[in-house]
């Protein structure tokens, strides 16, 4: 009777609990303890993470469970609202498909065979592999890639402590060309637009009403409601285009449009000469650069009639200075897209819309206010949370992408972000040196980076691939170790600075206890991993309460106050425009040493002679039977992050390929037909959406679909993965290149 010993021993031999295998969760309790644990209904104010916009939010909690997520009613910037994604956070929190324990791969990469392990086993596995790579190849052979986030700092701390310079964000796949343009023109990227007070807005591709940032959407809506004109340059008739005037520009020619605008503004004396003279340098070179960029020339390039270009320019300039050209969000369309963004910024400078209502401004964090005596008292800067730490080892080699090296093209690549597309290239080619380990935090290279199959090919050459996420993403599926992070509704993060025209700091805090008890917040994961790796003294804080107390102390804002309200702004401060009262007031961008904005960039000129002022590159257009392939965001999904979230997947489970009805007819394709999209050696199946709402030479799909991880059960295999079709080219500012791929379509 062996079994009687085996099971009976567990049932009767250890008191009231069962101690066998995974059993033992249930314990005897008295009713008094249970009564003490009853929880009333409450509202917890925190910060959303369903995209990177970081809107304030309010979670309604009943009996320890989140029942609803709404906007924070005390935050005027969002008018107390969240978007569909923010509201759907509840279904992410309680999704049975989340990762629940650390896992180590037991089968070949991509076979999905894993075992669950303890955190200690997972940390030990990673630490041992990292040590091996360090010993064999050096610490720089380990790359780190993550989605920008406040907690990202803990992940990067591991890289800093081991001496790897190779840290990367997802930004190269999204706004990095804009970042480069801002840094090269203003000296820093913390510039924002005052949409709500604009009287004319031109947007080149940015689709406010589907790539939603709640406070920005509110601003644009306010402007439009107040009578502002909204002009949308886009090969596709987007939702934003539907709210303004659609100008169906030919792909990759936007720079021509803006150079022609400048040409007209100069010729017709429609720009702010005083502003240009007082606040900028290098305008003469811009005058020279655009002198032959006439409306007639631009018509040939863009496909937009010259009369329309002139009309838009004159009407726009007439609203000076309360009018703006939007600098974009997901911008890496062409190899030198940063030049288009630079031209947009220069048009804005010609409007003199810097630091006035309806224009652009330096974000007013507490530090920015300090030089202004009448503003400095409103807010004090926050501090660091780490506490003391030893000096970090100096990396013995430069970055694989050469980012930030003065006098070289690498100066165009923001060091904080890096050219993430270089990681798979360095893995595969071992140039400039080999990458052997890749740690990934809340980022999904297989779907977010271009040329998915090349990314997967690169995984196969790695000695270590680690992914930390909430889902079994397409990258996690190929990883050696998968670490389960808890959701944003279950963790603290460092203070989030969301300052606009007034300072604003926000807290992300646990709304409920961990739903899955063996998941952890990123700060704890990397602190514990650091301890296991022998670099624990780079994380010298006990917990996040201590970290946040340290951060808040210099600001004079109490931690309890932040926990109670979720955010802080000076209540009695009015929006601060540096030139609001006096158009000649000092208004240098922060961190700009010379105090003048750079229409001509000496840094760029030094790195790439001839490029210090935007220069037009004539890119090829699709030939007969070809289409330019462009992509974009949809209101109910975020990049590659939400397609498996229950409610959002239900709202939009798949995508289709938009094709113009005239083009479709030529190919014998009807709406809803199954098609094959071909781009070079790659093919993708899909479904056609035949529409008038796109140029005949362009096709479009929403991004983030066509998932290849069976671990994303709802999203798996549904729709088109745009990045499977796009080559992994690295643009001049380290960006991926999203809009230079030509595809062919056939019906199946």
């Amino acid at each position: 009777m062996r079994r009687r010993q085996f099971l009976k021993g567990a049932l009767y031999g250890t008191g009231s609990m069962i101690a066998l295998g995974g059993c033992g969760s249930l314990t005897k309790v008295d009713q008094k303890t249970l009564a003490a644990n009853q929880i009333a209904e409450k509202t917890v104010y925190s910060t959303c993470e369903m995209c990177t916009s970081r809107c304030t939010m309010a979670a309604k909690v009943r009996d320890g469970k989140v029942i609803k997520i709404e906007g924070n009613p005390n935050d005027s910037s969002t008018a107390g609202t969240v978007c569909a994604r923010g509201s759907a956070g509840v279904s992410l929190l309680y999704d049975p498909q989340r990762i629940k324990k650390p896992m180590i791969r037991t089968g070949e990469r991509g076979t999905g065979k894993f075992k669950e392990v303890s955190w200690d086993e997972a940390y030990t596995f990673i630490a041992d592999k990292v040590t091996q790579i360090q010993q064999n190849y050096g610490p720089e052979a380990i790359a780190f890639a993550s989605r920008i986030n406040p907690q990202d700092a803990f992940f990067r701390q591991i890289a800093k402590a081991i001496g790897s310079p190779n840290t990367f964000s997802h930004e190269a796949t999204c706004p990095m060309t804009k970042t480069t343009a801002l840094e090269m023109t203003f000296g820093n990227p913390w510039i924002a637009a005052d949409y709500g007070n604009a009287k004319y807005i031109i947007t080149s591709g940015r689709n406010f009403f589907e790539g939603i940032h709640v406070s920005m959407v509110k601003g644009v809506m306010k402007a439009v409601q107040n009578g502002a004109k909204l002009v949308v340059l886009d090969p596709r008739f987007s939702v934003t285009a539907a709210k303004g005037e659609w100008v169906p520009i030919k792909g990759a020619t936007d720079l021509a449009f803006f150079m022609a605008m400048a040409n007209i503004m100069i010729k017709e004396n429609l720009y702010d000469k005083d502003f240009i003279e007082n606040y900028t340098e290098g305008f003469d070179k811009w005058v020279e650069a655009v002198k032959d960029k006439t409306p007639e020339w631009a018509e040939k390039e863009t496909g937009i009639p010259k009369e329309k270009i002139i009309e838009i320019t004159r009407d726009f300039a007439a609203k000076r200075p309360n009018a703006l050209v939007e600098f974009g969000w997901r911008t890496p369309w062409t190899p030198n897209d940063y030049q288009c963004r630079r031209a947009i910024l220069i048009i804005n400078l010609m409007m003199g819309n810097w630091e006035v209502p309806g224009g652009y401004y330096q974000k007013k964090g507490a530090g920015v206010l300090q030089p202004f005596p009448d503003q400095a008292g409103y807010a004090k800067p926050t501090g660091g949370g780490y506490g003391p730490m030893p000096p970090a080892p100096k990396p013995s080699k430069g970055r694989i992408d050469g980012a930030g090296v003065k006098g070289t093209p690498g100066i165009l690549i923001p060091v904080a972000d890096g050219a993430v597309g270089q990681i798979p290239e360095s893995i595969l080619t071992e140039k400039p040196y080999a990458i052997k380990g890749w740690l990934v935090h809340r980022f999904n290279p297989v779907i977010s980076m271009t040329e998915s199959e090349r990314i997967i090919e690169s995984f196969k050459k790695l000695d270590l691939l680690v992914t930390c996420d909430v889902y079994m993403t397409d990258t996690a599926y190929y990883s050696d170790v998968v670490l389960p992070e808890c959701t944003y509704l279950e963790r603290y993060e460092p203070i989030i600075d969301q300052s606009g025209l007034i300072p604003k700091i926000q807290l992300r805090q646990p709304v409920v206890p961990l739903v899955y008890p063996d998941t952890k917040p990123a700060w704890l994961i990397y602190k514990e991993l650091g301890q296991k790796m022998g670099i624990g003294d780079f994380f010298s804080f006990k917990d996040m309460e201590e970290f946040l107390e340290r951060q808040l102390k210099p600001s004079g804002i109490a931690f309890d106050q932040m926990k109670e309200k979720g955010f802080w702004s000076p209540a009695d401060m009015k929006p601060f425009y540096m030139r609001g009262k006096d158009p000649k007031a000092p208004a240098a961008p922060s961190l700009n040493e010379k105090g003048k904005m750079h229409i001509f960039s000496h840094e760029i000129e030094e790195a790439i002679p001839g490029q210090g002022i935007p220069v037009y590159t004539k890119y090829p257009q699709p030939g007969e039977g070809e289409f330019r392939f462009v992509q974009g965001k949809v209101a109910v999904h975020t990049n590659a992050g939400t397609h498996n979230v229950p409610v959002l997947n239900e709202l939009m489970p798949t995508n289709s390929l938009w094709i113009n009805s005239v083009s479709a007819t030529k190919l014998g394709i009807k709406d809803g037909d199954n098609i094959v999209i071909t781009a070079g050696k790659y093919e993708h199946k899909g479904v056609a959406k035949v529409t008038e709402a796109i140029r005949p030479d362009t096709v479009f799909c929403y991004h983030g679909f066509g998932r290849i991880s069976p671990g994303l059960k709802r999203a798996y295999g549904k729709g088109i993965n745009d990045n499977k079709l796009i080559p992994n080219a690295i643009g001049e500012s380290g960006n991926v290149v999203t809009s230079m791929t030509f595809v062919k379509i056939r019906k199946v």
Partner: protein, 184 residues
């Protein structure tokens, strides 16, 4: 059936539906022996289980094989048969729904609660079976039958076909055996 046997049976199923653990996986033969003795008409699944034990001797290969099936079946990603009653009985397909609260309330009324170090949700299949093992052990026949009728049977009716039809070794067979015992 003696209360002690009932307790052993509930516990045997609880241990299988918990995450694979060497203490249990390496004693699979003993569980098979128990089911063979106590539950009639289960020849087919028993044969499949015995064959599995022949192919995979106790040890690392056996437990890793179970992990390969346990994770997609119950745990992460595709989750072919989510092991939480709330998924099937609370209406929104998510965890920690009304059924979870109902089950937890029942535990409390019986003088039990989820411990601070519990690694599962209260309405996990293994936890419900573990609870019934405790009630059987303690001779709480009325409570046991009440919980079984109110919570376990509706849950098993939904989840067991999914596990059974998933055709994953061990779990599919054990689901058949549990179905035979509980649902007749």
């Amino acid at each position: 059936m003696k209360e002690s046997t009932t307790a052993e049976l509930y516990l045997s199923f609880a241990t299988i539906f918990h995450r694979p653990h060497p203490e249990v996986v390496n004693h699979l033969e003993e569980l098979i022996e128990l089911w063979e003795e106590e539950i009639p008409d289960i020849m087919e699944p028993l044969a499949a289980l015995k064959k599995f034990c022949q192919i995979y001797a106790p040890g690392e290969t056996r437990i890793n094989t179970l992990w390969e099936h346990y994770i997609p079946l119950f745990e992460t990603g595709s989750v072919e048969a989510p092991p939480f009653a709330s998924i099937y009985l609370s209406g929104d397909g998510l965890v920690l729904g009304t059924e979870t609260i109902a089950v937890q309330t029942f535990y409390n009324s019986a003088g039990y609660a989820m411990g601070e170090k519990a690694e599962q949700l209260p309405d996990h299949l293994a936890i419900e079976l573990e609870f019934l093992a405790l009630l059987a052990r303690d001779g709480e026949e009325v409570l046991l039958e009440n919980f079984r009728q109110k919570h376990l049977i509706p849950f098993l009716t939904k989840i067991l076909p999914r596990i059974k039809n998933g055709s994953r070794p061990v779990y599919s067979s054990v689901a058949q055996i549990l179905q035979s015992w509980q649902l007749g």
